[in-house]
C-alpha cells in the first residue's frame, strides 16, 4: 500500500516552509551581527541537524543490512524516506560552505587569510583588502615589501595543512558523493527487490552495508571535525566525532520512531506490532544514554584537567550560554531516562511521541550549542529568527520525507526477512 500525502498535511508543511522563508527574508533586514553571522549560523545549524538525521537513518539502514537484522525490514521504506533528504541537506550545507569560501559569512575563521598568513604587504596595510602572504619568498616574488602580519594566529596558522579551503572542499564533496551514491544504490536495490526477491540482491545489500559502515566510521568523524569542530578553530577534542555521531544517530532513531507512529496512526504499516515499537523506543532510550555518556566524557575530562587550550570551548559555553548549554544536556538525558525507562512506556505511542518531540527540540539545541558559540561568541540571541528557521526547515524536511514515502509501497514486498519481521515478537 502506498502512502498518500494528504492535502492537509501538505498544507501544514507549506505553512512551515513559508514561515521559514519569511524569517529568512526578515532576518536579512533584522540581523545586525557581523556578516549576517546569526542568520548564516542558523542555516548551518538546521542544515547540519537535518542532514545528520538523514545520515543517521542511512547509517542505521546499512547497519541493519550488515547485521542481517530482521525486524527492521518492516521499517525499511520509512528509513529510505528519511535518508532521501540527504541531497537536500547537502545543498543547504553546500550553500553555507560556498558563503564561507567567498567570505559572505565568517563561520570558519581558518578560511580568513588575515588569520592564517604570516606576512602582509606593507603598502596594503589599512586598505580594505590587504595582501597576505604565507611566506616572505612569495611576497618577494610579487614584488611587495612584506612585514609580519599582526593579525596572524599561529594556532590556526599551524593547522592549515589540514584546514585549508581546497582540501576542505575535496573532503566535503567526497562525503556528499559517498552518501548520495550509497543512498541511491540502496534505494534502487530495495525497489528492485520488490520485483524479483532474489537472495542475490539481499547479499549484495549485506556487503554494501558493511562497506558503508567502514566508510561511515571514518567520514562521520572527519565530517564533524571539518564542518563543526573547525568552527572553534583553536580547540580540538578527540571525542568530538563520536559525540556528533551519537547526536545524529539518536535524532535519526527518534524521527524514525515518531514517523512510524504517525504512519500507523494514519492506518499504514499494519504489520508493525508493539514489539517493533518497543524496539524503536529502546533505541531512542539507549542512544540517549550513549549521547549523554559521550557529551559528559568530553566535558568532564576537559573540565577536570583544566588545560587552557582545551577548556576555552567550555568557558565560552558556560559563561555565555549557561542555561541552554546545561539545559539541553539535562533535557536530552533526563526526559528519555525517566519517561522511557519502563517497558510499557516504550510500547506506548503517546509516551514516545511526547518524549520524541521534546528531544527533537533538545538535539536541535545540541547542534545550536555546537555551532553558535564559535560564530557569535557572547553576541547571541535566541528568538524568532532561530524558531522561525527551525520551523521552516522542519517543514521542508517533513515535506521531502513524506513525498519520498508516496513513491513506493510502504512495506517491502519481497525480502528474505519479511516474514520474520512480520512475526517479530520480544
Amino acid at each position: 500500500m502506498n502512502f498518500v500525502f494528504s492535502n492537509k498535511a501538505k498544507l501544514a508543511t507549506y505553512v512551515l516552509i513559508a514561515i521559514g522563508a519569511l524569517t529568512l527574508i526578515l532576518g536579512i533586514f533584522a540581523d545586525t551581527s557581523d556578516h549576517y553571522g546569526r542568520l548564516w549560523s542558523n542555516i548551518m545549524i538546521n542544515g547540519f541537524y537535518f542532514f545528520g538525521i538523514a545520515l543517521g537513518a542511512l547509517f542505521f539502514y546499512a547497519l541493519s543490512f550488515a547485521t542481517e537484522t530482521a525486524w527492521t525490514v518492516m521499517l525499511r521504506r520509512v528509513m529510505e524516506g528519511v535518508f532521501s533528504f540527504i541531497p537536500v541537506g547537502a545543498v543547504v550545507l553546500a550553500v553555507v560552505f560556498i558563503g564561507a569560501t567567498f567570505h559572505w559569512n565568517h563561520i570558519y575563521h581558518w578560511m580568513d587569510d588575515a588569520t592564517i598568513s604570516k606576512y602582509v604587504a606593507e603598502s596594503s596595510i589599512g586598505s580594505d583588502h590587504p595582501q597576505y602572504f604565507s611566506t616572505a619568498e612569495k611576497a618577494e616574488k610579487a614584488g611587495e615589501t612584506a612585514v609580519l602580519n599582526a593579525d596572524y594566529d599561529p594556532i590556526i596558522g599551524n593547522k592549515t595543512a589540514y584546514l585549508n579551503t581546497p582540501f576542505f572542499w575535496i573532503r566535503t564533496l567526497v562525503y556528499f558523493a559517498t552518501f548520495i551514491l550509497f543512498a541511491r544504490w540502496f534505494r534502487k536495490r530495495s525497489l528492485m527487490e520488490d520485483e524479483n526477491g532474489s537472495l542475490d540482491l539481499h547479499f549484495k545489500g549485506y556487503k554494501r552495508g558493511a562497506l558503508f559502515l567502514v566508510l561511515f566510521a571514518v567520514f562521520s568523524s572527519t565530517l564533524s571535525w571539518d564542518w563543526v569542530m573547525s568552527i572553534d578553530t583553536h580547540w580540538f577534542s578527540t571525542l568530538f566525532g563520536w559525540y556528533a555521531f551519537s547526536g545524529m544517530w539518536v535524532s535519526a532513531m527518534n524521527v524514525l520512531a515518531v514517523l512510524s507512529l504517525y504512519l500507523i496512526s494514519k492506518g499504514y504499516l499494519k504489520d508493525i506490532n508493539s514489539s517493533h515499537i518497543h524496539d524503536l523506543g529502546k533505541w531512542v532510550f539507549a542512544l540517549s544514554f550513549l549521547w549523554t555518556y559521550l557529551w559528559f566524557s568530553q566535558f568532564m575530562l576537559i573540565w577536570y584537567s583544566n588545560i587552557p587550550e582545551e577548556v576555552t570551548y567550555f568557558i565560552t559555553r558556560i559563561e555565555e550560554y549557561k542555561v541552554p548549554f546545561f539545559g539541553m544536556m539535562l533535557i536530552n538525558f533526563a526526559v528519555p531516562m525517566l519517561f522511557l525507562m519502563s517497558r510499557d512506556a516504550k510500547r506506548n505511542p503517546k509516551f514516545l511521541i511526547t518524549v520524541g518531540t521534546i528531544i527533537f527540540i533538545g538535539h536541535f539545541m545540541d547542534v545550536y550549542m555546537m555551532i553558535t558559540p564559535g560564530v557569535l561568541f557572547e553576541h547571541w540571541h535566541f528568538g524568532w529568527m532561530e524558531i522561525g528557521l527551525f520551523l521552516g526547515f522542519t517543514g521542508l524536511f517533513v515535506n521531502r520525507v513524506l513525498t519520498a514515502l508516496t513513491k513506493a509501497s510502504l512495506v517491502p514486498k519481497q525480502s528474505p526477512y519479511l516474514g520474520e519481521s512480520q512475526h517479530h515478537s520480544i
Binding site: 568532564m300 573540565w303 577536570y304 525507562m341 520480544i426
Partner: protein, 185 residues
C-alpha cells in the same frame, strides 16, 4: 481441630518441543485448565501470558537497587571528600558536592550499575531458589537438558478428573505423563 488429610494430585506432562508445548498450553487453557508452571531449559517466548504468569517485578527491584547505589555513592563521596577530610584535587577545592559533581559522576554511575546488577542477580537467584547449593526443585532432571514439563495440579483445578486430563495432554502431544499424589502439609 486438624483437617482431614487432603491429597494434592500433580500431573507432569513432558514434551520434546517448545512449540508443541506452547500450542498444547494454548489449547488446554482454552478448555479451562489452569497450568501451574512449566519447566524448561530455556525461556519460551510468548508462554507467560498463555499460562497466566504475572509480569516480573524485577525492573522495579533493579530500579530500587540502582537508587540505593546512587545514594550510597553520593553519600560516601560527600563524607570522604567534602565533610570528613576536605580534599583539593586538581585545583578544585570548592568543598561542595554540587560544584564538584562532574568529578563524582563516574563513580556514582559505576556504583549504581554495580548495585543494580548484583542486587538484581542475587534477588533473582533467591526468588527462584537457585542460589548455589540450594536443592533443585525441577520435577525431572531432563528439563535441564532437552525436555519440557508442564505441571498441572488439582489445587488450581478443583474437581478436575486426572485421568481425563492425562488423555487430553496425550492428545496434545505429550510424550510422557507422570502423576504424583502428595499429602498436603
Amino acid at each position: 481441630m486438624a483437617k482431614a488429610p487432603q491429597m494434592t494430585h500433580v500431573v507432569h506432562a513432558m514434551f520434546d518441543d517448545d512449540h508443541k508445548l506452547l500450542d498444547a498450553a494454548r489449547n488446554i487453557v482454552a478448555k479451562g485448565v489452569k497450568v501451574k508452571d512449566v519447566y524448561s531449559p530455556f525461556p519460551i517466548h510468548g508462554l507467560d501470558p498463555v499460562i497466566g504468569v504475572k509480569r516480573t517485578r524485577m525492573a522495579i527491584v533493579s530500579f530500587m537497587f540502582g537508587m540505593t547505589g546512587l545514594s550510597l555513592a553520593l553519600l560516601g563521596m560527600w563524607y570522604f571528600m567534602v565533610y570528613d577530610w576536605p580534599m583539593n584535587i586538581g585545583g578544585k577545592p570548592s568543598f561542595s558536592l554540587l560544584e564538584n559533581l562532574p568529578a563524582f559522576v563516574p563513580v556514582s554511575f559505576e556504583f549504581t550499575v554495580l548495585c543494580a546488577a548484583h542486587g538484581m542477580a542475587i534477588t533473582y537467584l533467591l526468588r527462584n531458589g537457585t542460589l548455589p547449593g540450594m536443592p533443585a526443585v525441577n520435577p525431572d532432571p531432563r528439563t535441564t537438558d532437552d525436555k519440557f514439563v508442564m505441571e498441572i495440579t488439582n489445587v488450581e483445578n478443583p474437581g478436575m478428573d486426572m485421568a481425563e486430563l492425562s488423555d487430553l495432554l496425550k492428545e496434545e502431544g505429550a510424550i510422557e505423563i507422570n502423576q504424583k499424589s502428595l499429602s498436603a502439609k
